[in-house]
């Protein structure tokens, strides 16, 4: 008997949970402006998230999925992307898409039940939020194939969660990416829960990153609550993908601090002590401590930033709330490029019936 294959999975972390640098930081982390920008968008994601939940509780948006606790993973990957790269996000990636230029009022429209939100500003080639779990991984692979066939100097990025790694579409995407050497990077944000299912129930594998090994592509872990580590690892993976070096799978370790969505009650299936413990490792606090240590960040600057971001969010909430309601005709207009006669006839029927907002 002889060993024919072995593998190892690396784990990258720069900041420990107290924000202390464990080793020399990558170059971008020495740049005060770059760090301030990363921190700003992480905080914006947090402030926006809090307002979203408030809007849901007061009936002004529908069910919404919180990103609280996952800001470093979302901002880290988005910061590593170029505008011309293509993103295929799951539905929880508010920070990533906001960084890429999507307006918060448009995200609110999506969660508020208005399809126009997905006709968003900024990254026009990006896919909309994807709800059917893991299916977007194949779209990223397909987009990467298009990028490759057209000889473009870019790559595609798929974002999914730990639950997605159980779906067939996830494995199929990894396998296709490896077999066709596609310029695509898959990032799994392992927030430890797929609604009520802890990741240990999802798989017997010690890491999700090692799922790359069977597809013949590199897989590695990163501390998903360390924005410097996420940015650094994704920088490398995306550069490699763009230059023909092939795909990669990155597992970003994080924790979902909120319920799965506002329709969920996580107290049914996990202990408050566990959430509290995970909260001590959340990404904003440790980034702030680094900012204090290296860039003179202060309480005053923190408070000023939060105030500024709250105003920014509030302005977008106002835009959302003041947007005239969608028209039922839109569901007919955008079903096909060339409207069939049967559908045009149905549109005439629909015009006779005004839409009630609630049943």
């Amino acid at each position: 008997m002889s060993v024919v294959a072995q593998f190892e999975i690396t784990y990258t972390q720069f900041l420990d949970e107290h924000g202390k640098a464990q080793k020399e930081l990558p170059e971008f982390a020495a740049d005060a402006d770059q760090m301030a920008r990363l921190y700003r968008f992480m905080m914006l994601t947090r402030v926006f998230d809090r307002r979203c939940i408030n809007l849901q509780r007061t009936g002004q948006v529908g069910t919404i999925a919180s990103s609280r606790g996952q800001e470093a993973a979302q901002i880290g990957v988005a910061a590593a992307m170029q505008p011309e790269d293509v993103l295929a996000p799951s539905y929880r990636e508010h920070g990533a898409v906001i960084w890429r230029g999507v307006r918060m009022s448009q995200l609110l429209a999506v969660w508020g039940g208005d399809e126009r939100g997905h006709n968003w500003d900024g990254p026009r080639r990006d896919f909309p939020y994807c709800v059917p779990i893991a299916t977007q991984c194949l779209h990223a692979a397909g987009a990467a194939l298009a990028i490759k066939m057209r000889g473009q100097p870019n790559c595609a990025v798929a974002l999914c969660g730990d639950g997605a790694t159980s779906e067939g579409a996830f494995y199929e995407a990894l396998n296709a990416a490896g077999a066709m050497r596609l310029p695509v990077v898959f990032m799994v944000t392992n927030n430890r829960y797929a609604i009520s299912m802890p990741v240990e129930g999802q798989t017997a594998a010690a890491t999700l990153a090692q799922k790359a090994i069977a597809a013949g592509i590199p897989g590695e872990q990163v501390d998903g609550n360390d924005v410097i580590a996420v940015r650094h690892v994704l920088d490398k993976a995306l550069r490699k993908a763009r230059s023909g070096g092939g795909p990669a799978l990155i597992e970003a370790l994080s924790y979902r601090l909120e319920d799965h969505t506002t329709a969920d009650d996580a107290t049914r299936y996990r202990a408050a002590s566990e959430v509290e413990e995970a909260g001590r490792r959340e990404p904003l606090g440790r980034t702030r401590r680094l900012m204090e240590e290296r860039f003179g960040w202060s309480d005053e600057r923190e408070q000023a930033l939060i105030k500024e971001l709250e105003a920014e969010v509030e302005a977008e909430v106002e835009v959302y709330l003041n947007t005239p309601r969608p028209q039922l005709e839109d569901i007919f207009e955008h079903q096909f490029g060339n409207m069939p006669a049967t559908l045009a006839a149905q549109r005439e029927i629909a015009r006779r019936y005004p839409v009630a907002e609630h049943g």
Binding site: G62, G112, S166, M197, G201, L343, A350, Y353, V355
Partner: protein
């Protein structure tokens, strides 16, 4: 006698059958510890243990495929797909295997499973949480498609579905989950499959619906009664195979028929019903068979979903047109 919502009646039926048949097994995403996202399986794991009620990894094809394997070996799996909008990875297993296993082995292996899924619009849910694609399954030979529209029928039909020797896709209208309560005796008595229920007798027109659309259909019938139109109302309940006898008998008396469903109109189950009435009930008909259904478009998100659902007014207008009143 317990007064239950539809979702509580589902829970009561599962509880009864698990208590009386050791081979019944419940599984799916979040059905165990969490009791299901709609709480349909609440308390089952506590009562029957984690061997018979368990959470699975997140993969719908896996859930359906496991059920086929388990059913072929003598268990009665009752897996849940969390929302019908996520059922499509499971289609391959239902279409290629569950519906065919008996036939292709000439009865050597069978597939007594019930795939439960909430379906339909009306709870202001995010994208892919509002689909009504029962016609995809109704088109498949070898699989029954059963849809309760009240707590009483949810209880009785689910018991019969679990006891049936073949695969059943059991679709629960989530808009009705907590819409109203009924007395549901917990007596273990099933209701017949392949049978349509006449829920209101009338003489002028037969209204045929199922699932959540039964609500608007009943309400329309009540309003129409005050406007001088006497509607007979049929809850189809099993949308495949169809109970032709009840349909034809009713239309032989009323002479008019209208089908109401939430799913997109083209290629919907309503088309099959209309075809039956046209081919076998033509001489009873005094007016064209009408359909009031969802439009041939993606079900809209929350802001416009009530423009998509066939409304009481749309149903009433179509009835008035049919009877010429």
């Amino acid at each position: 006698m317990p007064s239950l919502t539809l979702v509580e009646a589902v829970n009561q039926a599962l509880t009864w059958e698990m208590a009386h048949d050791d081979s019944v097994v419940v599984f799916g995403e979040d059905v165990g510890v969490n009791g299901g996202v709609f709480r349909a399986t609440l308390g089952l794991q506590e009562r029957f243990g984690a061997e018979r009620v368990f959470d699975t990894p997140l993969a719908e094809a896996m859930i359906a495929g496991l059920a086929v394997g388990m059913a072929s070996q003598g268990l009665k799996p009752v897996p849940e797909i969390q929302f019908m909008g996520f059922i499509y990875p499971a289609l391959d297993q239902i279409i290629s295997h569950a519906s065919r296993l008996r036939n292709r082995t000439r009865g050597r292996l069978t597939c007594p499973m019930v795939l439960r899924a909430p379906f339909g619009t009306g709870i202001r849910a995010p994208e892919h949480h509002s689909e009504s694609t029962e016609a995809l399954f109704a088109h498949m030979p070898g699989v029954r498609v059963v849809i309760p529209s009240s707590p009483v029928r949810a209880y009785g039909l689910l018991l019969s579905a679990i006891r049936d020797p073949d695969p059943v896709v059991f679709l629960e209208p989530k808009r009705v989950y907590r819409a109203f309560r009924q007395e549901v005796p917990d007596n273990g008595e099933g209701l017949p499959l392949d049978h349509a229920f006449v829920t209101r007798e009338g003489t002028d027109v037969t209204l045929i619906s199922w699932g959540a659309s039964a609500l608007e259909t009943w309400n329309a019938a009540a309003e129409l009664a005050e406007e001088g139109v006497d509607c007979e109302v049929i809850d189809m309940a099993t949308v495949s195979p169809l109970d032709k006898d009840t349909l034809l008998e009713s239309v032989s008396r009323t002479g008019r028929a209208m089908i109401v469903h939430e799913a997109a109109v083209s290629g919907g189950v309503g088309a099959e019903i209309a075809a039956i009435l046209a081919s076998e009930g033509l001489y009873s008909l005094e007016a064209p068979v009408a359909r009031v259904a969802g439009y041939d478009a993606v079900p809209p998100l929350a802001r416009m979903e009530y423009g998509y659902i066939p409304s009481v007014q749309r149903i009433k207008d179509a009835v008035h047109e049919s009877v010429g009143s």
